[in-house]
């Protein structure tokens, strides 16, 4: 049997054709992508209730300290599992309600004693991807002493057009159980349930080698006990239908080695709450090791139809809330972030200042929050 160094077109055609057969080439365990671990510590501190308002109750500032860990573990060559763990401690007084004080000024009633609570949130996400698509399954569980939530979701991404176009769709479901801690002198519910379902579709399109745009639509329906058990005279409809449209834009600027982010969200629901959110960020690289990211977020909201600063009593009001979150107000936050890259890990520190204020022509709700947030953390990649 003589060997001959020669290449024959028919042979090569057959050989390459045979290579599409699943049994022909060894499946061989692939080396998985590297595992990554991320950690963040966040400190969130609210300002004192504004001095210009009279306050009844505890003045202690509301604080949150949170630890977050995320582990991303590839499974084989076509899937990855992400574990998320969050543990946060919340302490301080929270606003109960507002009453009309002397000289017609709103007066804030804070919860009597300082609250101390813990929340833990565990979530797992499995993402399976193919050449032109990916599917994610997500499930999680959040617990507080008075609140439990179980949630799950499904997300699908399809790439078209040499990956220049991506269509995303998602479904999220959450089942929440509210079990308010009873305090004397308050008539509260014992146990209530709240469900929410949200559907979303989105489309991302590459515009040119340095810009990409994304549009999204989301419809969410909340049903069940939507009243806030910790607020005075709070009574809300047991259904809330939300529609959210969003737009995102990313532009890379080669001359300055920076990236511009623009995100806009328009929100409306059947409680007549409407809001607009604009977030602008600038990612400035300094060499390949340092990134500084200033960003600004503007938020504007119109009040719910049953919102009022004071509870005026009477028989005509089926629904009522003086929750500041349902009032008309505007908020602005500015943030600065710094990322330092090392060979196998990176370090992040971010600070954010958030301030809100009632819309002009409205009586400002004294419970509107302003806060300062600090986040530090690191990302590690194991090769």
């Amino acid at each position: 049997m003589a060997k001959k160094r020669h290449q024959n077109a028919a042979l090569l055609t057959l050989v390459t054709s045979a290579f599409s057969l699943p049994g022909i080439s060894a499946k061989a365990e692939g080396v998985p992508d590297s595992t990554s671990v991320k950690y963040r510590y966040t400190s969130y501190v609210e300002d004192n209730a504004p001095e210009r308002f009279t306050v009844e109750g505890d003045l202690g500032r509301y604080k949150i300290q949170a630890n977050q860990i995320q582990l991303v573990q590839p499974v084989g060559e076509r899937a990855s599992i992400t574990f998320d763990y969050l543990s946060e401690t919340m302490s301080g007084a929270s606003p109960w309600g507002v009453k009309q004080g002397a000289d017609n000024q709103p007066e804030l009633i804070m919860s009597g004693a300082s609250i101390k609570e813990e929340r833990q949130d565990v979530a797992v996400r499995l993402k399976v991807y193919d050449k032109e698509s990916s599917v994610s399954f997500m499930g999680g569980h959040s617990t507080e002493n008075d609140y439990k939530a179980v949630y799950g979701g499904l997300e699908n991404e399809l790439h078209f057009n040499q990956k220049n176009t991506t269509v995303k769709s998602g479904l999220k479901v959450s089942i929440d159980r509210i079990n308010p801690t009873q305090e004397e002198g308050q008539s509260r519910v014992s146990e209530e349930e709240k469900n929410s379902t949200s559907y979303s579709i989105g489309l991302a399109q590459v515009l040119n080698p340095s810009a990409i745009v994304q549009v999204g639509l989301e419809y969410a329906q909340l049903s069940g006990y939507l009243t806030d058990p910790y607020k005075l005279q709070d009574s809300r409809p047991d259904i809330r239908k939300q529609t959210i449209a969003s737009l995102g834009y990313r532009q890379f600027i080669t001359s300055t080695d920076s990236a511009f982010h623009l995100d806009y969200r328009s929100y409306t629901d059947d409680w007549k709450v409407k809001s607009h959110t604009i977030n602008v960020a600038w990612y400035q690289n300094f060499g390949s090791r340092h990134v500084i990211v200033p960003s600004i977020r503007l938020y504007s909201q119109k009040k719910a139809k049953f919102y009022g600063v004071y509870f005026e009593g009477g028989e005509a009001t089926e629904y009522f809330s003086s929750d500041y979150r349902l009032s008309s107000y505007e908020a602005m936050s500015y943030k600065l972030k710094y990322i330092k890259y090392f060979d196998t890990w990176s370090f992040t520190v971010a600070g954010e200042r958030y301030e809100s204020e009632g819309s002009s022509g409205e009586i400002e709700n004294p419970a509107l929050v302003s806060f300062t947030r600090w986040t530090v953390g690191f990302d590690i990649k194991f090769d």
């Binding site: 003589a2 024959n8 057959l14 054709s17 045979a18 057969l21 699943p22």
Partner: protein, 278 residues
Amino acid sequence: MGSPCKLHLYLTQKQANTVPQAALDCVFALEKKYSRYQSDSITSIINRSAGSGQCVRVDSETAALLDYANDAFEQSDGLFDITSGVLRKIWDFKSGILPSQETINQTLTLIGWQKIRWHNPYIELPEDMELDFGGYVKEYAADTLATFCMDNGVTHGLIDLGGDIRVIGPHLDGKPWKIGIRNPDNPEKALAHVESTGGGVATSGNYERCMVVDGHRYGHVFNPLTGWPVQGLASVTVQAEHCLIAGTLSTITMLKGRPGGGEWLQDMGLPNLIIEEP
């Protein structure tokens, strides 16, 4: 698969507990999937649909096998044809009677891969036409089995599926496997040996079944273009990286006959052994 199959594998104790059984399951699964005789095989499902005007959607493995058949058909100028199985029905070797040319001509109208509508993953067969994966699925099974064994850490062994051989790796001491090539005149005796430390060896012979009519020998390998058994070569053995390739090349060479087959095969540059008919 209708012929004796042998697995020679060097295994660790741990592998010995699982690999042989799983390997057999692997072969039986392919047999079940592509057998003409099992009514729930994909072959039977496709064949039953012939002439119904309905197309059948096939799985990705079957699709790859059909694509391969299409390439082999084109590269062999129509000689490698998985629709030629119907010729077996008119050539009855037990009877010793040749079919009439009229019968052959009628049967030829039911042969021709080009008459089949194959748009991956959909296939549609005209009435009375049939597919037969038997011409290459055994070779493919040998490769699949070898791949399976290698995926399970087996590095030394030989798979013999009724003469279609795939060597996983040499003997433990590194010595090559010796594979005997049958003498067409005396099939119990080896005419020659080839050595292999890895890769496929396949033989296509015209001697296993035959009939002699008026002193003329008629073998069981049919030319799908003429409907008659091919003549000229008694046996073709090819060595290639994969058993499937070796098998396809030996089949096509056999169909091309003498002298075209030998020349065509030499052009491949693969080790081979051709035994001509006397």
